[in-house]
């Protein structure tokens, strides 16, 4: 069934079946790529942080540029109060970015193309942000649902809409990343299938499409990681600096 464009998203067990009680927590190809991504991040950034030279070498420059990139992103969107959450957002951004990028390698598995993975990340962010908001502002955090300058007549409707939009944050956050990844990889697979089925005569058009799509998907892989991280920053900003 290799010609099925959804086949690439199949999760299968690697190695023995591991059971925790009655729950199956076997090591799968998804787990493998999570481990690979994390290890790659750790190795690259550890090498980049090891040498402390005044003039950085390539890896050091890479890690320092990423550091200042994420730091600037956080300070731009969430202000200086978000500094304690820097390492979490940095890890999140790097994890999503590396999972997306490893997914671009042919025959690799894209961890972030699974709704359960992105949903767990988004739900964790949602719960964490809500806890931070209530800890910082107490019940005053509920003012987030009551925007200022709204006529009294419209207020019940607006509050309902605000609550729904707040509660749908984890869903929108997770579905955005998952759908982008899945759609991109499916499309690449479909066009790849066209190249094979049209052969040497008609395969050139879908092949060129495939090449263009690969570039686009690499861009999307970066962009979605960036969007995921920056939306986290915006949610964090809502919790830290109550604007409404």
């Amino acid at each position: 069934m290799a010609s099925n464009p959804m086949y690439q998203f199949n999760v299968y067990r690697i190695g023995p079946e591991i059971k925790l009680g009655s729950v199956d927590i076997s090591f799968t190809n998804a787990s493998l790529f999570m481990v690979i991504s994390s290890l790659a991040i750790l190795i690259i950034f550890n090498l980049g942080a090891k040498k402390k030279t005044l003039i950085p070498d390539k890896l050091q420059l890479l890690s320092e540029l990423s550091y200042s990139f994420v730091a600037k992103m956080i300070s731009d969107t969430a202000g200086s109060k978000a500094k304690p959450y820097f390492s979490f957002i940095f890890s999140l951004f790097m994890f999503v970015l590396f999972c997306n990028m490893f997914g671009m390698i042919p025959y690799a598995f894209t961890v972030t193309s699974h709704i359960i993975v992105t949903f767990v990340l988004a739900a964790f962010i949602f719960v964490g942000v809500t806890i931070i908001g209530f800890m910082k502002h107490g019940l005053g955090y509920l003012k987030l649902f009551v925007p200022s300058g709204v006529p009294m007549v419209l207020l019940p409707l607006i509050v309902v809409i605000e609550i729904i939009s707040y509660l749908s944050r984890p869903i929108s956050l997770s579905v955005r990343l998952f759908a982008n990844m899945m759609a991109g990889h499916t499309m690449m697979k479909v066009f790849g299938g066209f190249v094979i089925s049209l052969g040497i005569v008609g395969g050139w058009l879908p092949l060129s499409f495939s090449v263009a799509l690969t570039g686009l998907e690499i861009l999307v892989a970066f962009l979605q990681a960036y969007v995921f991280a920056i939306l986290t920053c915006i949610y964090l900003n809502d919790a830290l600096n109550l604007h409404h």
């Binding site: 999760v11 927590i25 991040i41 050091q60 200042s68 790097m94 699974h114």
Partner: protein
Amino acid sequence: MLRKIIILVFVTCFACFKTVFAAESGGMPQLNPEFWISQIFWLIITFGILFIVLTKIILPKISDNLETRKSQILENIETADKQKEESQKKIDEYEKIILESKIKAKNYFNDAREKILEDINKKRAALEKDLDEEISTTENELFEFKKSSGDKVTKIAAETSAELIKELIGEGVNSSSIAAIVEDQAKINKERKDVI
């Protein structure tokens, strides 16, 4: 012909599309909950380890490095500024020394010239004084000589006249009368000279 080819391509594309999607069965593997727990479990483990290691070990190193670089660059700029100031000071000092030494050299030169001039003047003055003295003594001597020469001439003239007269006449004449005559004659001569 071209239109035929385009239509053919479209038809084959459509056929392929159909076969590709016909092969799809079972829908999205993402919605199969068989490995959900496993994925959540491994996600928590890998992301947890990644987060902890990044937070505890790697990110502090990077931020440390960035900080030290920043401070080092600032320090270097500071020292560079300081050294620049110092060198400016040194240049000023050097210029001052050069100026001073120029003035000194000029002074030395002037002093030496003055000294030499003074020396020359002194020597010249001394020489002139000597010359003057010599001239005046000589003049005095001449004057004296001149003065005394008149008396001597009359004396000699008187003696010579006495001798001549003695030879001519054969007998001595009163020398005092001869002397008186000679003196008169000399006076007349002198007056004539004076008149001339």
